[in-house]
Symmetry: C2
Subunit: 434 residues, 2 copies
Amino acid sequence: MRITDLRIHSIAMADPPLRSSYGLHQPYALRNVIELESEDGIVGIAETYGGEQPATALESLRERMIGIDAWRLLGDLLQLVEGGASGMERSQTHHVPGENPLDADARTYSAIETAVLDLIGKALDVPVCDLIGGRVRDAVSFSAYPFYKHGGGGGEGEDLREDEYGEALSPEQLVTQVRQMVERYGFKEIKFKGGVLDPEIEIETIKLLRHELGPNIPLRIDPNCSWSVDTSVKVGLALAEELSGGGYLEDPTAGLDGMAEVRKRLVAEGVDTPLASNVSVTSFGDLPEAVKLDAVQVVLCDHHYWGGMRQVRHLAKTCETFGIGLSMHSNSHLGVSLLAMTHVAAATPHLTYACDTHYPWQSEQDEIVAGGCVTIADGTVAIPAAGGLGVKLNQDRLALGKELYDKIPYRKRDDEAEMQKHVDPNWKRILPRW
Amino acid sequence: MRITDLRIHSIAMADPPLRSSYGLHQPYALRNVIELESEDGIVGIAETYGGEQPATALESLRERMIGIDAWRLLGDLLQLVEGGASGMERSQTHHVPGENPLDADARTYSAIETAVLDLIGKALDVPVCDLIGGRVRDAVSFSAYPFYKHGGGGGEGEDLREDEYGEALSPEQLVTQVRQMVERYGFKEIKFKGGVLDPEIEIETIKLLRHELGPNIPLRIDPNCSWSVDTSVKVGLALAEELSGGGYLEDPTAGLDGMAEVRKRLVAEGVDTPLASNVSVTSFGDLPEAVKLDAVQVVLCDHHYWGGMRQVRHLAKTCETFGIGLSMHSNSHLGVSLLAMTHVAAATPHLTYACDTHYPWQSEQDEIVAGGCVTIADGTVAIPAAGGLGVKLNQDRLALGKELYDKIPYRKRDDEAEMQKHVDPNWKRILPRW
């Protein structure tokens, strides 16, 4: 099964004005989609981070991919993520995921791995989860992912999308947003993006969510490192009850030392809320120090930047070994990524929380998967019966995504610029802000 | 690709009178070989520990195996090694490998995994190493594995095998044995089984090996926990130079606390010889304490009892993450196991030493692999071009192995009984002996 062609598609998709500590989402988010074709005309696909760097990195490996047997490609390139000189570097970062130079090779490998596994799975009519070790579940749970949000849909001008959720800049509006999401998708856990408003308002938001939704739905908050250690501890204490029962406090503050200090002070106060991270632990090289300091009790995996699905399986086992929980991180993405996330989650026994996904924020009009949006029902995505990831590309939609990409000026994500444009010309990301 | 049949073959093979701290090898070693047949008549094979327990454990899963698609079986049974209640139990042991009740499920799963991967690989004409993540090397290095040995070949009566190596109970005889092995197989590293004679003689043996073989061949010694902490430190100091340059000191003493104390005292004396183990670390559950104590600098993996090839890949990544080296353990085995070991090693980037193998101690007459003994040349085993493990069974030889098994009284390994029979009726394994 020789690889005969690699096609890299840089696309854009409408993205609503979501707020986070990074700033404000731009009207369009960027993705790269790859197609890897075999001599018998089967096409494996993958979706990864957007803009120029990922496309250039993938392009630079073209010669190593063309002409090789699909079964040999992943071993041939494995030095990008394992056993090489840079395999164990620390990579904790304050960059947005996808723009950390330290895991660039891991991101490149991951996209290739997903496309190869999809290609092989399609050729054999075997789902990817069963190729990489075997599913331990047929459907994967995802969380609702509410954001503070400006009014308006994603996109601009003739490409403006419907604003299904409306503005959400108060606790009450957030509750409405969450109710809509839960109603539509059946989510049973909630991961709330904080780090946007004054911590007192965010505390109030979580408390209101707990009050309105009852005691049985796990709640998490992720302020993306916006808080000092003192503020983190204050919020952790204030939300001790609300975040218990399957919730966690994600990246309240930056860096392993700060996280460890927050943990220590919370435990000293009798609060056992786990601290989760996809910032202070973003590579295997970060784990020893995290373990030593007990800085992180839940790692958020993401095959897109941890070096692929098999590396996530290694990560899960390592976390299980050291008594660390595992959840899954998400960026703005379309259906190809959602299915890749679902397959790796299905084959990961030690997955201790529902996974994050931004998917409900994207618009059906931008979906590149044939057949339209992937179904989320009862808060879960089911493994499709078809082989590989279980979906093919809608080439017309892919073409539209490429047109959008050509039309817009962005070539990398810049939430800070968008904040400066719409909210405050002097806005900068400050850590800690509070 | 539905599984339609499972055949379990308990066999015996001649084994020469090798000495270790466990006692004396019996004239026959036991193995179980399984065949897993699919609806299209393809047969996947695996070799595992011998005697009744492994056969009974495999038999007990028959109903879960028959009728299922091969691609689904490994996920369906994964709870035997992951995500289950017993997945993270400590299992450090003084039992011989293969008889530790704490990793019984891991051993069972491993045999099934190997047979399933061989079946799938044969069906697709894809080597197992490329199924589990992709090879990073086409040939795998193994070590010479010299033992103190009584005169005589394996087997008894009409089944007595040729004694290729002769008696080796002195340093000089050991050197001769190693020279023979290196000459015949081209080994470039040497792992020497100690724990048999007075430590002073074993020190002398290693020193003579170093003197005779020159400075460039890594040397290791494994006394299987025969020594006290004091003796371990004494030997470690005496052999500081001989074990440097790619060697290690394996399981000098029992238990993580003892290993940690040996390490601490050696480092305090400026001796950095890594301590290796397949006794104090035999499961993922042992790793956190080993890391915390810096008790073990090299883990010896073994897919046969670590839960299979994919678990070994997880282990390798965990070891890489925590700065621990990885080597590979061996028991008496035939060609099916050797190839399985070769495939997992080929797909494991973080493999930092040549692997152990008892293979040269077995006789061609007992080999069950079609085509005779697997070739070891230049100290390496090459990945065969054929799919799966790359070999099929010689059914006549398998039948002979079953006949031998029926003829002999052993149903589990008992090196102590053999010592009592031939050397000293009161012999007992004592830890530490020195």
